[in-house]
Chain length 201, copies 2
DNA sequence: TCCTTCGTGAGAGTTGACTCTCATGAGATT
DNA sequence: AATCTCATGAGAGTCAACTCTCACGAAGGA
């Protein structure tokens, strides 16, 4: 029942786990339906076993998704030389939202699940926070030092805007097409960052 | 099979529909589990009948929820005399989010469903857009006339922030408690409105 | 090599979201 | 009152998310 723990048969478990995540990643990539039965089938594993390694679907998707994203520093390499937080945030926002768009199906499934059962949010989507933190590095010593509360508020502002939830709000409820939605979100993120920067100008 | 249409037996249908919505509203109010079987049971109606009147759970919840909210003008009565869009938006945001908080369970269920099946979004949550539009009335003649695009952008900015999705992001992912989350969202909404207002100053 | 351990598969079971069919019986029509 | 109509209920069926049990069989140690 337990599995996981690191006693014996380590390799076997490692292989099984990897196979499951890989299968999930494949399904996510092909845009197919990302369900537990489908993943288990693709991983040549029984559904029961899949549940032995991951408490629920969102956890699995979350892990599979995490492995697809590059680390923040790498993702933001194009703006690595820029010290302008507005430019960096705009880039990070666009990067995140385009990535989400390419994996809409699974991201939607994951978000829906975490919304109905917030208590299961263990592996938070570090991508969002990682990107935001990294994009704001230039402000760490200025705004971050001079006005810690304002800095924290800015991060929260951006956590709301630089997100899948925001993207889906814009496309599903506001009726924007994907590109318009991304443009709009990037604008919003930029506006918020500008406002925060202005505070220390 | 059809029901609904306005031919005969109108009263009967009216009564049935009302009973279903009322039952849903009751369940929402008590914070109980808002599922189709539960609502049907409470409405003394078979589940099949419930589905004859509403294509799916979210539609039902959406309608039940809509009936609970007052019209925008009434909700914003406390700031009716204010011409300050920032103050009005802040009030609208706090009003909306507190209302959502009080009905978390059902709102979460609804949002989750509309995220996984965006194509079923028929009855959009007019509350959000109604409140935003009404809060921004003072800008209609100034910003709205002088910079229509900027005005539209502001509305989109606020649609993302003055929302259940934003609230849940702050509580579930950022780990804020409800009051902190609302305070944060109100701040964000105010910042965005201020930025837009500054453009015409 | 024997034997214990334990990862795994098979399968049954539960719940909720839906879908579909069929029989019933109350309402409307004449 | 006789009849036609149609809203409704009952129930079976599908699918996914899980949960649980039980038996198999290979990995690993003695």
């Amino acid at each position: 029942m337990t599995a996981q723990a690191g006693t014996g048969r380590t390799n076997q478990k490692q292989r099984t786990r990897t196979a499951i995540v890989a299968a999930a990643r494949d399904l996510i990539g092909t845009g197919a339906e990302v369900t537990m039965p489908a993943i288990a089938r693709a991983a040549l594993v029984s559904e029961a076993t899949a549940y032995r390694y991951f408490p629920d679907l969102p956890s699995l998707i979350s892990e599979a998704l995490a492995g697809v994203w590059p680390p923040p520093a790498e993702a933001l390499a194009p703006v690595a030389d820029s010290a302008d937080p507005v430019e960096r945030v705009a880039f990070a926002c666009e990067f995140l939202l385009r990535g989400i768009l390419a994996r809409q199906g699974s991201v939607r499934a994951m978000i829906a699940a975490t919304i109905t059962r917030p208590e299961t949010v263990t592996t938070r989507p570090g991508i969002r926070f990682g990107l935001i933190d990294h994009a704001l590095l230039p402000l760490e010593d200025t705004l971050g030092a001079r006005d810690p509360d304002g800095f924290a508020q800015l991060k929260r502002d951006l956590a709301v805007v630089v997100s899948a939830e925001a993207l889906f709000t814009l496309t599903d409820l506001c009726g924007l097409d994907p590109d318009e939605a991304i443009t709009s979100a990037v604008r919003t993120a930029a506006t918020l960052t500008e406002a925060a920067v202005r505070a220390i100008a």
